[in-house]
């Protein structure tokens, strides 16, 4: 008996290690492919770390923790080792940030649950591979503390002492990432509302009362921490403040909030009750309904309303709608049936609020940047339920033939989820995430030219991030990093929108790369609140042929242009 148990534990450990190694390998793909940090945001964030390292001050809009942890690595190891840590070690460290939902799943008190399935989802889900470890950004750290807080809150259900680590990780979430803390505030709010109704109406237990004390306390702490972080460390660039400004512009928003606070708990509690009481939910019906809802409706709406987004929508949603959503919904149903209502509310209430929030924010104009961020939080939170759904589904298969068939289909689903983690520009609104060595050289040289010619540099947000990185934020970049709403005066942005080139000033260096060009499915990346397009062949032809515009550098993937640079310099000399 003891020996069999030992073998089982041993087997589970090896399975865990194998799946986790796969998670590490998937997240290391960009580092091994490019040998550079992946995604352009990290260059911009690192530029702030360089400023701190030089004793200066820079806004830290996400919260200070990520930046100061990077600064510690830079101070301890020096620049070269810091870059290697950033490229190769941090994606591995970030992979550990997928673990909190796995431990939540391990805490399920349902016999049929297989936590390894939750880990498998956390390993392969495209949005999670990308956001946690694929790119090294404050969001990864924020999502980790978000997950850890949820894990501790579940523990606090049974034992009051877990309130302390809950407060600590909640505070660390606020110090790490603005959007993560918003999600956590929503999580606590949803629990408070639903549990209040449930406590008053149905069940007065000590654990529920504990939740009713913990949730407003935690919400207050999170709001206070988040507000202090944004007011001290980068008010102008803080996404949380931006979201607040956005929603306050909706005049009926206070009424939506009031109505939501009243109806939300009733809907969540009564719906969970209905699912618990209702008869049979067969997996086949759930699968067909979810595929219809998850694929057909978004595809039809996208074609009708925003056809250019179709490749992106298909790229991400089809694998998620086939491989994840049906199992998550099936897991929710089964979990509601198998556990006390207060336990199932722990998942269904926040999930409902997260989905409402995602619809509300994504419906606002120009905030498509959140299109992958909000679903990443929802998916991260729902993985234990998807793992539970998959566990229940596998147990229900009653013949070897069915097991083989289902096994093959699920293997394909998992593969399609993993294989869509790092989209090419044509599947990501024209955003090329990888940076090349030649583009870094181009940015360095643009900075040197700008000093020599006393010129500004006009480039997009992607190459602008590199420019900030190579110059420790000293470059005179015409991109508008600090203002969400001031109109951009960039030549590149203007011509990318109109397609009509015009002569630019002679104190400007135009830095372009293939990633901005229509011919390469790229676009001029602008701030999320401002529109932009791609550079067409007419613009390129203008730059190559308009008398006076010198092509001063070519690095194969990018070019620098200036208007009569030498005339001014030689006259100056």
């Amino acid at each position: 008996m003891g020996s069999n148990m030992g073998k089982l534990i041993n087997r589970e450990t090896w399975q865990f290690i194998t799946v986790f190694m796969l998670a590490v390998l998937l997240r290391l793909i960009p580092s091994l492919r490019y040998g550079l940090p992946y995604g352009f945001d990290i260059y911009e964030f690192t530029s702030r770390v360089f400023v701190l390292n030089e004793g200066g001050s820079a806004p830290l809009p996400h919260g200070p923790l990520f930046y100061y942890l990077q600064l510690a690595v830079l101070k301890i190891f020096g620049y070269d080792a810091f870059m290697n840590v950033l490229v190769f070690l941090e994606p591995i460290i970030f992979t550990f940030f997928i673990l909190p939902p796995y431990f939540v799943s391990k805490g399920f008190k349902t016999a049929e649950n297989i936590p390894l399935y939750t880990l498998l989802y956390l390993t392969v889900l495209n949005l999670l591979v990308h956001q946690i470890g694929g790119v090294v950004i404050p969001e990864g750290l924020g999502i980790f503390f978000f997950g850890l807080t949820i894990f501790f809150v579940r523990k606090a259900f049974d034992d009051w002492k877990w309130i302390y680590p809950t407060m600590v990780t909640g505070f660390l979430t606020a110090m790490s990432h603005h959007l993560s803390v918003l999600q956590l505030i929503l999580f606590f709010t949803s629990l408070f509302l639903s549990y209040s109704y449930y406590y008053i109406r149905y069940e007065k237990t000590i654990s529920l009362l504990r939740m009713l004390v913990l949730t407003p306390l935690a919400t207050f702490l999170l709001i206070a921490s988040a507000v202090s972080a944004w007011s001290l460390l980068g008010e102008e660039e803080n996404m949380l403040k931006l979201l607040l400004i956005m929603v306050t512009r909706i005049h009926i928003f206070p009424f939506i909030l009031l109505a939501g606070a009243f109806f939300f708990p009733i809907i969540t509690v009564e719906f969970a009750k209905f699912v618990k009481m209702h008869g049979k939910f067969a997996f086949r019906n759930v699968f067909i309904s979810i595929v219809l809802i998850g694929v057909v409706i978004p595809t039809t709406l996208t074609i009708a309303l925003f056809p250019t987004a179709l490749p992106t929508v298909l790229w991400f949603t089809v694998p998620i709608s086939l491989g994840f959503l049906p199992f998550a919904v099936y897991g929710i149903i089964r979990y509601c049936k198998r556990t006390p209502l207060s336990d199932s509310l722990f998942f269904t209430a926040p999930l409902t609020l997260f989905i409402i929030e995602a619809f509300l924010l994504l419906s606002l104009e120009n905030y498509s940047v959140l299109i992958h961020r909000l679903p990443a939080f929802i998916i991260y939170f729902a993985t234990p339920l998807a793992g539970y759904g998959l566990s229940y589904f596998s147990i229900e298969l009653n013949s070897l033939k069915k097991e083989y068939l289902a096994g093959m289909i699920i293997a394909y689903f998992m593969f399609s989820l993993a294989a869509t983690s790092f989209p090419k520009p044509e599947y990501a609104y024209g955003v090329k995430e990888s940076i090349s060595h030649s583009e870094i050289k181009l940015a360095k040289d643009a900075y040197e030219y700008s000093i020599r010619f006393n010129a500004k540099i006009d480039t997009d947000t992607r190459l602008g991030a590199i420019l900030m990185f190579v110059s420790s934020r000293r470059a005179n970049w015409m991109g508008n990093l600090n203002s969400w709403f001031t109109p951009s005066n960039s030549w590149l942005v203007n011509v990318s929108l109109t397609g009509d080139p015009y002569l630019f000033k002679d104190d400007v260096i135009i830095m372009i790369s293939n990633s901005m060009r229509e011919a390469y499915h790229g676009r001029v990346i602008n701030l999320i609140t401002k529109p932009s397009g791609s550079l067409n062949d007419r613009v390129i032809s203008y730059l190559n042929n308009y008398p006076g515009i010198d092509r001063v550098e070519d690095v194969q993937e990018g070019v620098l242009y200036m208007n009569t640079p030498w005339k001014k310099l030689n006259h100056g000399e």
């Binding site: 194998t18 796969l22 390998l25 998937l26 793909i29 091994l32 492919r33 490019y34 040998g35 498998l120 392969v124 096994g407 093959m408 699920i410 293997a411 394909y412 998992m414 593969f415 993993a418 294989a419 990888s434 090349s436 060595h437 030649s438 050289k441 181009l442 040289d445 060009r517 011919a519 390469y520 062949d537 390129i540 032809s541 190559n544 042929n545 008398p547 006076g548 515009i549 010198d550 092509r551 001063v552 550098e553 070519d554 690095v555 194969q556 993937e557 620098l560 009569t564 030498w566 030689n570």
Partner: protein, 144 residues
Amino acid sequence: MSFFLILLFITYELLESPNKDFFSMKIIGLKEDEHGLHVILSISNNSNEKSEGVLLVMLGYEDSFVAENDKSYIFKRFKVYSQQVLQISPKREENLEVILPRDSDMKRILIMYFLKSDFKGLEENSDQIVLKKEDVIWVQTWVN
């Protein structure tokens, strides 16, 4: 099965890694004196292999034109002033000076480094040079 499919995907992604090597060329100075125009260039070989290519200096007049698409550059109606084989050691940056006589009709000077040693020049009965983008880097400056 999932595991092996994903491992296969990872292997494919790594085998298909983009080339990290690249060449670059920039103009670092332009002066005019009694000998003519001096264009000072810097060409760098950011690969691990020695490069042997052809440096071409081309002169553009009123009707010269450069077109490009995602695959090629097309240099129309340029006059090839000089061409020479140029070797650059790996991870090295070479500075060069090109001196050109004054020519009042000339509008632009286009200097390219063709990354292979077998440059064929202008095709017969044609006034244009078509080159694959991955085979060439070029810069230009306008005069007069």
